[in-house]
Amino acid sequence: MSEAREFKYIGQNTIRPDGFDKVTGRANYGADMSLPGMVWGKILRSPHAHAIIKSLDISKAEAHPGVLAIATHADFPSVTDEAIESGEGSSTLLDLARNVLAKDKVLYHGHAIVAIAAKTAAIAEQALALVDIDYEVLKPVLDVRTAMAADAPLLHADMFTQGLEEAPTRASNIAVRHEMKLGDIDAGFAEADVIVEREFYTPTAHQGYIEPHACTVRYDKDGQSMVWCSTQGHFDVRSSTAKLLGMKLGQLKVIASEIGGGFGGKTTVYLEPVALILSRKSGRPVKMVMNRDEVLKATGPGSASRSKIKLGAKKDGTITAMKGWLAYEAGAFKGSPVMLGCMTAFTPYAVANMYIEGFDVVVNKAKVAAYRAPGAPQAEFAVEMLVNELAVELGRDPIDLRLQNAAKEGTQTIYGPKFKRVGLVECLEAARDSAHYKQALQANQGRGIAAGFWFNVGGQSSVVINMNPDGTGTIVEGSPDIGGSRASMQMMAAEAMGIAPGLLKPIIADTENVAFSQGTGGSRTTFATGMAVIEAAEDVVNQVKQRAASVWNVTAEQVDWADGVATNMAGEERLTLAEVCAGAERTGGQISGRANINARGAGPSFAVHLCDVQVDKETGKVDVVRYTAVQDAGKAIHPQYVEGQYQGGAAQGIGWALNEEYVFSADGLMENAGFLDYRIPVASDLPMIDTIIVEVPNAFHPYGVRGVGESGIIPPLGAVGYAVESAIGAKVTDLPLSPPRVLALIQGNT
């Protein structure tokens, strides 16, 4: 988008088209589907963090009355180590199969081993207790430090570190080493007058969606199998499941239910292939629903991380060098987002000399999945903490220092391209000028500020808009709607067609009713699927103009289109969209527009957050007392839902910073697998979260959209972390800043 333009519908706060169903309980989520004759599947999970399965005997379970089918890893046809697309794009089919049902070895507490289908869930659970497994328990590795040690117990005897100069001869828990550089890092530090350096830790944190994973499936021998499930990408479920089971894509229909939160965690499969095996074996539809314990133990958390960051700056505030070392936990199988950590860590800054290396490390925890801006919060937390320290060392205002060094148009990123127009400076200025930043702090309070960068993602989206004879229409798209994106699609189509949004009904079609579309993730839906919606809407408009032209016996170029009405420029005739649709049978058949695109030109969204905390110095308890989230939306299609993304990202990040963490026993058993002790923020934990929407249009999107879902979770870790640091006057290195940790910092016992 090259210039500011006036919109008729974009930028309004419409009522979402799926709203009625959601406030009345009518919307159907993953666990809400039942089929005639349906039976229930349950999964037996590992009681150990690391063990060899010496023997597995299912005979007693098979004989249990009411049991209809049993699945183990042996039920997967020979799977290969081909790469598969998932949230991270770096998993293999073999690893996926071994994660879905363990082969020979269990690699984390809760690792799935055997699945049983029975007439009722209770019978299935009774039968699970009859499975005999003999384990040889091994020592677990639970942290990157121990995992990277030369003598560490190995999770995979056949894993050799990739990315080393020389091919290693010994197996390792380090899957990959990445390295990125820009300029001359040593020269950069040589120029510096001030150097700050620190090591950081962030814990394993879960996406924490309220809806557990669930599916209902039916395997039909005639090749018409179907999966109903809660997912961010039903086409990815189709491809992963079909590959694991040796099916053709055309043999499997995947229907995306309404989805009760994902945040990256629903970009892979856990239950779906298992349920299909059970259905195939039992000849019955099978329903599987995880409980909360299973969700926390066995579905993708975000990576825990360790990092070392070093920054150098001149007295005048110019940052001359940024150096980093990142090690991310991948969980049981390789594929942490550490590369994305390397790519994002320093990217808010225009600095000539940068160097970062990253390590993808397997540990005996659940395989990580994408979690909102995967890899970025961990790395940017560490960098933002140190940029704040640098500001103190230089005697500078932290926003002012960031403005001096902020990435802007033309800035060379460490990962490759130079930035086009980006909105970091505008975000920093908005934060600086906010009432929040001017408010004085009270006793025992501290203020933190942090910036965040996320690329945003384009990619493939397919859309069809089918017009009805009365001028209403259906927008058929393939991107699951997690946070209200149907409202945005409706508005963008309405804008492009010049008709009221309410005339168009957006739906998420199953894999048979729309062409391939990538999943909802990476903040791509409003940008990329939105672009496809606009293109499909323009296709409708072009066809309508053609039809009107044929009615008037003129060329399409002689037809003007405005506000949903075609006008014959040669005469005075007018035809509304509805009139053209009503007459479509006489002008060439019904009208439908389409677009199958691979969207290019994704534009980064920068965020800047301000956080004030109050610390109880006797207990170490931290209360967030004021919070402001500033972020560049490019263009906010539906401002309320854009604000909602900022607020939701902030709340998740605050939870990560303050209380969320996985707690393991020395044996590697997860001790807090429930919402009681995995403490996500509750309503009374948070203040209102103020938002400032900055709009620096993305030149590559017709309406200027950038995508807003990810960036908001990045700054809270640093903003909260530094607010606590400044309130207590002690250096913060480890998250979460739970009361015991903060009290220890206050008392100097770290």
Partner: protein, 160 residues
């Protein structure tokens, strides 16, 4: 094993009978036997509030009530909120304020908000936040939910 128990109850004002096992929770019965899937399951341990319903007007988690306990009681669920095709003020305000994203927590929050405003028609922000602390939402950060609740209270007061 005993035979299933026959329970006679009232759900959203409708006389209802069902059969259940002694171990079935009210949530199991609502969702699996009565196909009333508006009440959601997020944890099964009373920690998330997605299954909020009322029993004799008292707000509870349906996962922490046995189905047999419904005998002779008045059960209220999300399906009973509003009047047929007309939303009530709370539901309207949730939509107007965009107080939902994925929407899985919304039925529970609507039921809980109704319970709050029945007990306390004019809650402060802090009162609303503490009353609703048992209804987890992972998407919104609660800001818009609390605004919707307070606006619903003000609107209902204005109408009264």
């Amino acid at each position: 094993m005993m035979a299933k128990l026959h329970i006679t109850t009232s759900i959203n004002g409708d006389a209802t009978e069902f059969l259940c096992e002694p171990h079935d929770t009210l949530l199991d019965v609502l969702r699996n036997d009565l196909q009333m899937t508006g009440t959601k399951e997020g944890c099964g341990s009373g920690d998330c509030g997605a299954c909020s319903v009322t029993v004799d007007g008292r707000l509870v988690c349906a996962c922490l009530v046995l189905g047999v306990e419904a005998e002779g009681r008045e059960i209220g669920t999300i399906e009973g909120v509003g009047d047929n095709d007309k939303l009530n003020v709370i539901q309207e305000k949730f939509l107007e304020h965009a107080a939902l994203q994925c929407g899985i927590c919304t039925p529970g929050l609507v039921v809980s908000t109704q319970a709050l405003l029945t007990l306390n028609p004019d809650p402060t922000e802090a009162e609303a936040r503490y009353f609703l602390a048992g209804n987890l939402c992972r998407c919104t950060g609660y800001d818009k939910i609390i605004r919707a609740v307070l606006d619903a209270a003000a609107t209902m007061k204005g109408a009264a």
